[in-house]
Protein backbone atom coordinates (compact mmCIF):
# COMPACT_ATOMS: atom_id res chain seq x y z
CA UNK A 1 0.00 0.00 0.00
CA UNK A 2 2.83 2.37 0.98
CA UNK A 3 4.53 1.59 -2.33
CA UNK A 4 1.43 2.69 -4.30
CA UNK A 5 1.23 5.88 -2.23
CA UNK A 6 4.83 6.73 -3.13
CA UNK A 7 4.16 6.06 -6.81
CA UNK A 8 1.03 8.23 -6.68
CA UNK A 9 2.87 11.12 -4.96
CA UNK A 10 5.73 10.90 -7.46
CA UNK A 11 3.25 10.86 -10.34
CA UNK A 12 1.39 13.91 -9.03
CA UNK A 13 4.67 15.77 -8.49
CA UNK A 14 5.86 14.84 -11.98
CA UNK A 15 2.64 15.97 -13.64
CA UNK A 16 2.47 19.22 -11.68
CA UNK A 17 6.10 19.90 -12.58
CA UNK A 18 5.31 19.40 -16.29
CA UNK A 19 2.27 21.68 -16.15
CA UNK A 20 3.79 24.46 -14.07
CA UNK A 21 6.56 27.03 -14.26
CA UNK A 22 7.13 28.66 -17.61
CA UNK A 23 4.37 30.28 -19.63
CA UNK A 24 4.37 29.49 -23.33
CA UNK A 25 2.39 30.97 -26.24
CA UNK A 26 2.35 34.61 -25.15
CA UNK A 27 1.01 37.65 -27.01
CA UNK A 28 3.30 39.12 -29.64
CA UNK A 29 4.86 35.79 -30.59
CA UNK A 30 5.62 35.30 -34.27
CA UNK A 31 6.26 31.74 -35.38
CA UNK A 32 7.26 30.07 -38.64
CA UNK A 33 6.39 26.46 -39.24
CA UNK A 34 6.25 23.55 -41.62
CA UNK A 35 3.30 21.19 -41.73
CA UNK A 36 2.38 17.84 -43.11
CA UNK A 37 -1.30 17.23 -43.71
CA UNK A 38 -3.35 14.15 -44.34
CA UNK A 39 -6.78 14.47 -45.92
CA UNK A 40 -9.24 11.77 -44.82
CA UNK A 41 -12.97 10.94 -45.00
CA UNK A 42 -13.49 13.10 -48.07
CA UNK A 43 -15.27 12.70 -51.40
CA UNK A 44 -13.03 9.71 -52.16
CA UNK A 45 -12.25 6.72 -49.94
CA UNK A 46 -8.53 7.37 -50.41
CA UNK A 47 -6.23 9.37 -48.17
CA UNK A 48 -4.06 12.20 -49.38
CA UNK A 49 -0.66 13.36 -48.21
CA UNK A 50 0.28 17.02 -48.17
CA UNK A 51 2.97 19.48 -47.28
CA UNK A 52 2.74 23.13 -46.41
CA UNK A 53 3.93 26.04 -44.38
CA UNK A 54 2.45 28.45 -41.88
CA UNK A 55 3.13 31.54 -39.88
CA UNK A 56 1.50 32.36 -36.53
CA UNK A 57 0.88 35.83 -35.18
CA UNK A 58 -0.37 35.78 -31.58
CA UNK A 59 -2.76 38.64 -30.81
CA UNK A 60 -3.36 38.09 -27.09
CA UNK A 61 -2.23 35.50 -24.54
CA UNK A 62 -5.31 33.40 -25.33
CA UNK A 63 -5.83 34.14 -29.02
CA UNK A 64 -3.50 33.20 -31.85
CA UNK A 65 -3.80 33.38 -35.66
CA UNK A 66 -2.39 30.98 -38.21
CA UNK A 67 -1.78 31.78 -41.90
CA UNK A 68 -1.14 28.70 -43.99
CA UNK A 69 -0.65 27.10 -47.42
CA UNK A 70 -0.99 23.39 -48.22
CA UNK A 71 -0.36 21.18 -51.25
CA UNK A 72 -2.11 17.81 -51.09
CA UNK A 73 -2.09 14.97 -53.61
CA UNK A 74 -4.43 11.96 -53.67
CA UNK A 75 -4.10 8.85 -55.81
CA UNK A 76 -7.61 7.81 -56.92
CA UNK A 77 -7.13 4.04 -57.00
CA UNK A 78 -4.70 4.30 -59.89
CA UNK A 79 -7.47 5.68 -62.14
CA UNK A 80 -6.48 9.31 -61.71
CA UNK A 81 -5.14 11.89 -59.30
CA UNK A 82 -6.62 14.73 -57.31
CA UNK A 83 -4.49 17.71 -56.32
CA UNK A 84 -5.57 20.32 -53.80
CA UNK A 85 -4.02 23.62 -52.86
CA UNK A 86 -5.23 25.53 -49.78
CA UNK A 87 -4.37 29.06 -48.79
CA UNK A 88 -6.06 30.44 -45.71
CA UNK A 89 -6.10 31.52 -42.12
CA UNK A 90 -7.37 30.27 -38.77
CA UNK A 91 -7.95 31.61 -35.30
CA UNK A 92 -6.71 29.55 -32.34
CA UNK A 93 -8.31 29.96 -28.93
CA UNK A 94 -6.59 28.61 -25.81
CA UNK A 95 -9.20 27.92 -23.08
CA UNK A 96 -6.56 26.71 -20.61
CA UNK A 97 -2.77 26.58 -20.74
CA UNK A 98 -1.17 23.59 -19.06
CA UNK A 99 2.52 24.44 -19.17
CA UNK A 100 4.15 22.88 -22.20
CA UNK A 101 0.87 21.32 -23.26
CA UNK A 102 -1.64 23.80 -24.71
CA UNK A 103 -4.90 22.52 -26.20
CA UNK A 104 -6.85 24.83 -28.51
CA UNK A 105 -10.02 25.32 -30.51
CA UNK A 106 -9.36 26.26 -34.10
CA UNK A 107 -11.60 27.77 -36.78
CA UNK A 108 -10.96 29.61 -40.01
CA UNK A 109 -11.40 30.11 -43.69
CA UNK A 110 -9.44 29.23 -46.81
CA UNK A 111 -9.45 29.36 -50.59
CA UNK A 112 -9.13 26.02 -52.30
CA UNK A 113 -7.98 24.97 -55.76
CA UNK A 114 -8.70 21.40 -56.83
CA UNK A 115 -7.72 19.55 -59.99
CA UNK A 116 -8.78 16.02 -60.91
CA UNK A 117 -6.81 14.34 -63.69
CA UNK A 118 -8.03 11.04 -65.14
CA UNK A 119 -5.46 8.44 -66.08
CA UNK A 120 -3.94 8.73 -69.54
CA UNK A 121 -1.89 5.91 -71.04
CA UNK A 122 0.51 5.59 -73.96
CA UNK A 123 -2.51 4.91 -76.22
CA UNK A 124 -5.13 7.20 -74.72
CA UNK A 125 -4.98 10.93 -74.01
CA UNK A 126 -7.62 12.00 -71.46
CA UNK A 127 -6.19 15.43 -70.70
CA UNK A 128 -9.38 17.03 -72.05
CA UNK A 129 -11.34 15.26 -69.27
CA UNK A 130 -9.45 17.09 -66.55
CA UNK A 131 -11.70 19.09 -64.20
CA UNK A 132 -10.65 22.02 -62.03
CA UNK A 133 -12.33 24.29 -59.52
CA UNK A 134 -11.66 27.28 -57.28
CA UNK A 135 -13.75 27.38 -54.15
CA UNK A 136 -13.91 28.78 -50.69
CA UNK A 137 -13.99 26.70 -47.53
CA UNK A 138 -14.43 27.01 -43.79
CA UNK A 139 -12.76 24.74 -41.27
CA UNK A 140 -12.93 24.11 -37.55
CA UNK A 141 -11.61 21.60 -35.06
CA UNK A 142 -9.38 20.87 -32.10
CA UNK A 143 -5.64 20.79 -31.65
CA UNK A 144 -2.77 21.02 -29.25
CA UNK A 145 0.73 22.48 -29.02
CA UNK A 146 3.50 20.73 -27.17
CA UNK A 147 6.50 22.95 -26.41
CA UNK A 148 9.81 21.13 -26.74
CA UNK A 149 11.68 24.21 -25.53
CA UNK A 150 11.19 28.00 -25.25
CA UNK A 151 11.03 28.58 -28.98
CA UNK A 152 10.07 25.31 -30.55
CA UNK A 153 6.71 23.55 -30.56
CA UNK A 154 5.08 20.56 -32.11
CA UNK A 155 1.37 20.95 -32.96
CA UNK A 156 -1.29 18.52 -34.00
CA UNK A 157 -4.81 19.39 -35.09
CA UNK A 158 -7.87 17.68 -36.53
CA UNK A 159 -10.26 19.91 -38.47
CA UNK A 160 -13.35 19.41 -40.56
CA UNK A 161 -13.15 21.45 -43.76
CA UNK A 162 -16.37 22.27 -45.55
CA UNK A 163 -16.18 23.54 -49.15
CA UNK A 164 -18.63 26.18 -50.26
CA UNK A 165 -19.12 26.55 -53.98
CA UNK A 166 -19.29 24.50 -57.14
CA UNK A 167 -19.07 20.77 -56.71
CA UNK A 168 -16.26 19.02 -58.59
CA UNK A 169 -18.11 16.41 -60.61
CA UNK A 170 -16.32 13.08 -60.95
CA UNK A 171 -16.95 9.47 -60.07
CA UNK A 172 -14.86 6.33 -59.68
CA UNK A 173 -16.54 3.44 -61.48
CA UNK A 174 -15.59 -0.14 -60.83
CA UNK A 175 -15.23 -2.04 -64.11
CA UNK A 176 -13.97 -5.48 -65.05
CA UNK A 177 -10.55 -4.00 -65.85
CA UNK A 178 -10.34 -2.06 -62.62
CA UNK A 179 -11.39 1.46 -61.69
CA UNK A 180 -12.33 4.08 -64.27
CA UNK A 181 -12.53 7.76 -63.42
CA UNK A 182 -15.46 9.50 -65.08
CA UNK A 183 -15.46 13.28 -65.02
CA UNK A 184 -18.14 15.77 -65.94
CA UNK A 185 -17.31 19.32 -66.94
CA UNK A 186 -20.92 20.40 -66.76
CA UNK A 187 -20.98 23.68 -64.83
CA UNK A 188 -24.67 23.32 -64.05
CA UNK A 189 -24.18 20.73 -61.34
CA UNK A 190 -24.94 23.43 -58.80
CA UNK A 191 -23.53 24.34 -55.47
CA UNK A 192 -23.27 21.55 -52.96
CA UNK A 193 -21.50 21.09 -49.65
CA UNK A 194 -18.44 18.87 -49.73
CA UNK A 195 -16.26 18.19 -46.73
CA UNK A 196 -13.28 16.26 -45.45
CA UNK A 197 -11.12 15.94 -42.34
CA UNK A 198 -7.64 17.42 -42.26
CA UNK A 199 -5.10 15.99 -39.82
CA UNK A 200 -2.14 18.34 -39.52
CA UNK A 201 1.17 17.86 -37.76
CA UNK A 202 3.38 20.94 -37.67
CA UNK A 203 6.76 22.01 -36.35
CA UNK A 204 6.96 25.68 -35.39
CA UNK A 205 9.77 27.98 -34.35
CA UNK A 206 9.34 31.32 -32.58
CA UNK A 207 11.28 33.94 -34.51
CA UNK A 208 10.19 37.09 -32.67
CA UNK A 209 8.30 38.53 -29.71
CA UNK A 210 6.91 41.85 -30.97
CA UNK A 211 4.62 43.10 -28.19
Amino acid sequence: MTRYKYIFILLVLGVSNTFSQKIYAEKGNIELGLRTTSSVFGHDPYNGLGIGGQTRVQITDYLNTEWFVDWITIDLAGAGTRKNAHIGWSVLFYPKKMGKFIPYLIAGHCFDYAKVTPLSTQYLDRSHDEVTRWSSAVQMGLGSHYYLNDRFNLSFSAQYMMHLGNHLEYELLETEKGYYLETNKDKHTGERLEGHVLLTLSLNYKIADLW
Binding site: L34, R35, T36, L49, G50, I51, W71, I72, T73, I74, D75, G78, T81, K83, T117, L119, S120, T121, Q122, Y123, L124, D125, R126, S127, L148, N149, D150, R151, F152, L154, L203, Y205
Partner: protein, 189 residues
Protein backbone atom coordinates in the same frame (compact mmCIF):
# COMPACT_ATOMS: atom_id res chain seq x y z
CA UNK B 1 38.21 -15.88 -42.20
CA UNK B 2 40.79 -13.10 -42.55
CA UNK B 3 38.07 -10.72 -43.70
CA UNK B 4 35.95 -11.60 -40.65
CA UNK B 5 38.89 -10.85 -38.32
CA UNK B 6 39.46 -7.50 -40.02
CA UNK B 7 35.73 -6.71 -39.71
CA UNK B 8 35.62 -7.65 -35.99
CA UNK B 9 38.76 -5.58 -35.26
CA UNK B 10 37.30 -2.62 -37.17
CA UNK B 11 34.01 -2.89 -35.26
CA UNK B 12 35.77 -2.98 -31.88
CA UNK B 13 37.96 -0.01 -32.79
CA UNK B 14 34.86 1.93 -33.91
CA UNK B 15 32.89 1.13 -30.74
CA UNK B 16 35.90 2.01 -28.59
CA UNK B 17 36.26 5.29 -30.48
CA UNK B 18 32.60 6.23 -29.91
CA UNK B 19 32.29 5.06 -26.34
CA UNK B 20 34.65 7.58 -24.76
CA UNK B 21 33.09 10.10 -22.42
CA UNK B 22 34.71 13.02 -24.17
CA UNK B 23 32.69 16.18 -23.65
CA UNK B 24 32.42 19.16 -25.95
CA UNK B 25 33.77 22.45 -24.69
CA UNK B 26 31.98 25.36 -26.30
CA UNK B 27 31.39 28.96 -25.31
CA UNK B 28 28.00 29.15 -27.06
CA UNK B 29 24.82 27.11 -26.53
CA UNK B 30 23.98 26.68 -30.23
CA UNK B 31 25.63 25.15 -33.23
CA UNK B 32 25.41 25.47 -37.02
CA UNK B 33 26.03 22.41 -39.16
CA UNK B 34 26.48 21.89 -42.88
CA UNK B 35 27.49 18.89 -44.94
CA UNK B 36 27.63 17.53 -48.45
CA UNK B 37 27.62 13.79 -49.08
CA UNK B 38 26.49 10.92 -51.27
CA UNK B 39 23.37 9.04 -50.22
CA UNK B 40 22.65 5.54 -51.57
CA UNK B 41 19.00 4.45 -51.57
CA UNK B 42 17.31 1.05 -51.61
CA UNK B 43 14.01 0.39 -53.36
CA UNK B 44 12.06 -2.81 -53.82
CA UNK B 45 12.78 -5.16 -56.73
CA UNK B 46 16.55 -5.11 -56.24
CA UNK B 47 16.88 -1.48 -57.23
CA UNK B 48 19.34 1.06 -55.84
CA UNK B 49 19.60 4.81 -56.23
CA UNK B 50 22.34 7.33 -55.66
CA UNK B 51 21.83 10.95 -54.61
CA UNK B 52 23.96 13.94 -53.73
CA UNK B 53 22.84 15.28 -50.35
CA UNK B 54 23.25 18.78 -48.94
CA UNK B 55 22.42 19.52 -45.29
CA UNK B 56 22.15 22.63 -43.17
CA UNK B 57 21.10 22.55 -39.51
CA UNK B 58 20.77 24.67 -36.40
CA UNK B 59 21.09 22.98 -33.01
CA UNK B 60 19.98 24.41 -29.66
CA UNK B 61 18.68 22.80 -26.44
CA UNK B 62 18.78 19.23 -27.84
CA UNK B 63 16.60 20.24 -30.81
CA UNK B 64 17.97 20.51 -34.31
CA UNK B 65 16.10 22.29 -37.09
CA UNK B 66 17.42 20.90 -40.32
CA UNK B 67 16.92 21.21 -44.05
CA UNK B 68 18.12 18.57 -46.51
CA UNK B 69 18.25 18.56 -50.27
CA UNK B 70 18.76 15.43 -52.38
CA UNK B 71 19.84 15.70 -55.98
CA UNK B 72 18.97 12.49 -57.82
CA UNK B 73 21.97 11.19 -59.79
CA UNK B 74 20.93 7.77 -61.05
CA UNK B 75 19.29 4.46 -60.26
CA UNK B 76 20.31 0.88 -61.05
CA UNK B 77 18.75 -2.56 -60.83
CA UNK B 78 15.72 -4.51 -61.96
CA UNK B 79 13.30 -1.54 -61.89
CA UNK B 80 14.87 1.92 -61.91
CA UNK B 81 11.40 3.59 -62.28
CA UNK B 82 12.44 7.28 -62.04
CA UNK B 83 14.42 9.49 -64.39
CA UNK B 84 14.13 12.34 -61.87
CA UNK B 85 13.51 12.30 -58.14
CA UNK B 86 15.00 15.40 -56.51
CA UNK B 87 13.78 16.01 -52.96
CA UNK B 88 13.75 18.83 -50.42
CA UNK B 89 13.09 18.24 -46.70
CA UNK B 90 12.80 20.39 -43.60
CA UNK B 91 12.07 19.20 -40.11
CA UNK B 92 13.20 18.67 -36.56
CA UNK B 93 15.41 16.24 -34.71
CA UNK B 94 15.79 15.36 -31.06
CA UNK B 95 19.43 14.91 -30.07
CA UNK B 96 20.58 12.74 -27.19
CA UNK B 97 23.84 13.32 -25.27
CA UNK B 98 24.38 16.85 -26.60
CA UNK B 99 27.23 17.47 -24.17
CA UNK B 100 29.16 14.49 -25.59
CA UNK B 101 31.04 14.12 -28.85
CA UNK B 102 28.91 11.17 -29.91
CA UNK B 103 25.31 12.38 -30.35
CA UNK B 104 22.58 10.02 -31.59
CA UNK B 105 19.39 11.59 -32.93
CA UNK B 106 15.93 10.82 -34.26
CA UNK B 107 13.66 13.08 -36.28
CA UNK B 108 10.91 13.63 -38.77
CA UNK B 109 11.07 15.68 -41.95
CA UNK B 110 8.21 16.41 -44.33
CA UNK B 111 9.30 17.33 -47.83
CA UNK B 112 8.56 17.74 -51.49
CA UNK B 113 9.73 15.52 -54.36
CA UNK B 114 10.18 16.76 -57.91
CA UNK B 115 9.76 13.49 -59.74
CA UNK B 116 9.39 11.99 -63.21
CA UNK B 117 8.58 8.38 -64.00
CA UNK B 118 10.86 6.66 -66.50
CA UNK B 119 8.39 3.78 -66.88
CA UNK B 120 5.02 5.33 -67.58
CA UNK B 121 4.35 8.01 -70.14
CA UNK B 122 1.07 9.38 -71.48
CA UNK B 123 0.13 10.10 -75.06
CA UNK B 124 -0.22 13.73 -76.06
CA UNK B 125 -2.89 13.56 -78.76
CA UNK B 126 -1.89 16.84 -80.43
CA UNK B 127 1.81 16.06 -80.81
CA UNK B 128 1.38 12.26 -80.92
CA UNK B 129 4.36 12.08 -78.56
CA UNK B 130 4.72 10.15 -75.34
CA UNK B 131 5.15 12.56 -72.44
CA UNK B 132 6.57 11.87 -68.99
CA UNK B 133 5.23 14.59 -66.68
CA UNK B 134 7.42 16.14 -64.02
CA UNK B 135 5.27 16.65 -60.92
CA UNK B 136 5.69 17.91 -57.34
CA UNK B 137 4.63 15.41 -54.70
CA UNK B 138 4.56 15.61 -50.89
CA UNK B 139 6.78 13.12 -49.09
CA UNK B 140 7.66 12.38 -45.47
CA UNK B 141 10.67 10.75 -43.86
CA UNK B 142 11.57 9.28 -40.49
CA UNK B 143 15.26 9.62 -39.71
CA UNK B 144 17.70 8.16 -37.19
CA UNK B 145 21.46 8.50 -36.94
CA UNK B 146 24.40 10.00 -35.09
CA UNK B 147 26.91 12.85 -35.24
CA UNK B 148 30.43 12.53 -33.93
CA UNK B 149 31.94 15.95 -33.28
CA UNK B 150 35.67 16.58 -33.52
CA UNK B 151 37.57 19.09 -31.41
CA UNK B 152 36.53 21.90 -33.71
CA UNK B 153 35.11 22.56 -37.17
CA UNK B 154 34.48 18.99 -38.36
CA UNK B 155 31.93 16.33 -37.54
CA UNK B 156 31.28 12.84 -38.81
CA UNK B 157 27.72 11.64 -39.40
CA UNK B 158 25.81 8.53 -40.43
CA UNK B 159 22.05 8.20 -40.72
CA UNK B 160 19.25 6.11 -42.14
CA UNK B 161 15.87 7.38 -43.29
CA UNK B 162 12.66 5.84 -44.53
CA UNK B 163 10.90 7.93 -47.16
CA UNK B 164 7.20 7.55 -47.98
CA UNK B 165 5.07 9.17 -50.65
CA UNK B 166 3.66 8.66 -54.12
CA UNK B 167 4.53 10.09 -57.52
CA UNK B 168 1.23 11.17 -59.07
CA UNK B 169 0.85 12.53 -62.60
CA UNK B 170 -1.52 12.15 -65.55
CA UNK B 171 -0.72 8.45 -65.78
CA UNK B 172 -0.02 5.52 -63.43
CA UNK B 173 1.14 6.44 -59.90
CA UNK B 174 4.46 5.14 -58.58
CA UNK B 175 5.47 4.77 -54.92
CA UNK B 176 8.34 7.00 -53.83
CA UNK B 177 9.03 4.78 -50.80
CA UNK B 178 12.73 4.30 -50.23
CA UNK B 179 15.21 3.36 -47.53
CA UNK B 180 18.18 5.72 -47.74
CA UNK B 181 21.55 5.87 -46.03
CA UNK B 182 23.86 8.88 -45.71
CA UNK B 183 27.30 9.24 -44.22
CA UNK B 184 30.09 11.73 -44.49
CA UNK B 185 31.98 14.61 -43.01
CA UNK B 186 30.49 18.02 -42.29
CA UNK B 187 31.48 21.44 -41.06
CA UNK B 188 30.22 22.89 -37.80
CA UNK B 189 30.46 26.42 -36.41
Amino acid sequence: MKNRLVFICFTFISISGFSQDSEIKSSKDWKLKSALSFAPGFLTEKTNTIQLQGTIGFVKNKIELRGDGFYFLNSFGDRPRFSMNHQLYAGAFYKFLTEKQFQPYVGFQPGLAMSQSSEYGALNFETQQLEHQITYNPVGSIVGGFDFFGEKLFYLFAEARYIFGKHTSNTYPVYLDEFRLSFGLGLTF
